[in-house]
Symmetry: C2
Subunit: 413 residues, 2 copies
Amino acid sequence: MPEFFNVLPPGEALALLLDLLPERPAAGVCVADTSQALGRVVAAEILATESLPPFPRSTMDGYSVRAADTYGASDGLPAWFTLVGEVPMGQGPDFELGICEAAVAYTGGMLAGNADAVVMVEHTQAIDAQTIEVMRPVAPGENVAQPGEDVSAGEPVLPAGHVIRPQDIGALLALGIQRVQVAERPRVGILSMGDEVVHPSATPGTGQVRDVNTYTVAGQVVSAGGTAVPLGLVGDDYEEQLVAARQGLAQSDMLVLSAGSSVSARDRTVDIVAELGEPGPLVHGLALRPGKPAIVGLCDGKPVIGLPGNPVSAMVVSSLLVRPTVYRLMGCAHPPPANEQTAVLTQDIPSAAGREDYVPVRLSESDDGTTIARPVWGKSGFIFTLVKADGLVRVPADAGGVYAGERVQVREL
Amino acid sequence: MPEFFNVLPPGEALALLLDLLPERPAAGVCVADTSQALGRVVAAEILATESLPPFPRSTMDGYSVRAADTYGASDGLPAWFTLVGEVPMGQGPDFELGICEAAVAYTGGMLAGNADAVVMVEHTQAIDAQTIEVMRPVAPGENVAQPGEDVSAGEPVLPAGHVIRPQDIGALLALGIQRVQVAERPRVGILSMGDEVVHPSATPGTGQVRDVNTYTVAGQVVSAGGTAVPLGLVGDDYEEQLVAARQGLAQSDMLVLSAGSSVSARDRTVDIVAELGEPGPLVHGLALRPGKPAIVGLCDGKPVIGLPGNPVSAMVVSSLLVRPTVYRLMGCAHPPPANEQTAVLTQDIPSAAGREDYVPVRLSESDDGTTIARPVWGKSGFIFTLVKADGLVRVPADAGGVYAGERVQVREL
């Protein structure tokens, strides 16, 4: 049984959870068309099925030659070559070269039968239709890409856990690999709790507000590659919450609980996580602002994250914990880092040592073209603070703040 | 008729094109469910339909009071208050406070009828079930979020051209805005040309290679929010290329031509762009490596980009030109910047002044936790160079290179 922690740094809390998760994709594996697999996670290592390029390819426009025939060629004493043909694009040569014979070669095309190098057209001069002067010697293999030089048959191409990018799609298709085994998208159930929360389609009554957290977290889940499963709303009744959480967890690979915003509501969420499965809560509280009252749990093999009800705190915690966990559930041990931009801070951001702070900032360009970051201050928990912001500046736990003029990393939520 | 340019810096070539495009979305406007609108581009400015919070909300757990009753309270001389009730979450108060009366208030909940501030529970002490001591004075409005303090009815929320993020979805739904007008996804036709290129499903014959550029560019188009329309392959016959390009442009909002890789094949692409519509080519050649032989054109109002056939050059040009153009076609004047990470370079990257260089690098973590970037050298045009790389380091045109130990920005393709 893992140890239970009160108030850990978010990175340690995350590591604690991820270390307890199996490496295999939580929702299983499926086959995707390579051309449609952008952002999917490779489920099993992919090896090259053949070598590329498949033939010696010219890397320049010019003439294929036997390199030995060019030795000693110079501007003052060029070597004379007889042009005996061309190798058209997409075709093989149907002839070989004799002594001091050359053939027209195109970038990406093949060389003449026994040619071993290509002279760039810039280093030649046409004398007549059959004759060229070569002004520079070439070494064997010069301006030629050898078979297997890009990739060799059997070589590992993409490891399991790799998130597929446009270049990976191109490379797999270059090998003729038209289908790939990828992790199924994990289903992330999201349950919003609290007597005051109503559905966005409702007109809130006195003291009520519309649900925000289900949808911000869903957006973060989807952008990480998961499937968001909104589980609806439940009030502050403990038994109803427990039933809804149990049902939600049963149909999901991971559960996110957005707690009510009062202290007592948050405390109840820990009890729910404890009842959902073993070992239950791993961490209660993060050395983080905003986002301290978060819960990290594991219930019968499925991650359960408890978010503070406050929409800003919920997004910060979700960005730090839910997003990497979704990647991990696809078998991705090293999730792509959150998108960041570098900017120069316009004013001091004070902070208490001992906890990480995330402060919303708005980016703009100064007169000299520098990207500058201006803090967006606002009462805790206003969602429009994040709408007005372009990202968050992190103040490390061991710093008393970050200061005007410092270069900071601004991370996307 | 715009002036024609030979060899511009990529940023200037892009600006030239974008300045000639209308601001309205090229493919029209449609209505999306807000909860499904992640990554879509707002088509018309969205105003707040109501004020948030809708009522004075407590930002703390504690007691709502009339602030005047707390004046002078201190640890040594606390003020005594009679507890007259609580305001439950999601409900309004059904009572008002008399002199030195208080009501239990929850974070996010309402205050008692005529209360104007909230005392944090930490600054109180319970004497008995009906009585509390208040140890600190509060000012009117303290620990209370006022109606409209997050957003006021009528206030602009998201401008036209904004790319919708998770927090925007949450904020719109908080206002009850369940549908949004967004730009239709622009259709980007992609035509790969060259006698040597075959479909990924084919077994290449002698001298042939499988098509890569259609799929890498498609991936970049899709990740920017566009719809990729693969137009298939056409050989090096000029008339066939022209017919295929015309048909492709007719069914698309933008056309990308991947030229054959020989110099003559590239030159023919300019002629095609000139025949497709007015004004035709705007720029032929970029001060860029790799990617010099690129073409930027506008044909009867639709952008046409000619890419070099070399897969690495094609991806670099597409990242610099196609991606921002796709955003612009959705009405987004300031596309989100390419994802970047900061890293320390491990070795010198020399470069010729006068052109921008983009060098593939692989990232790793050094012993002290620094992210380091190591160049991935390889013969020009190998797609697996980009598979092995985590991003590109840009060497500015006015620099002779970047040097080992420098902090560099590594951008995603």
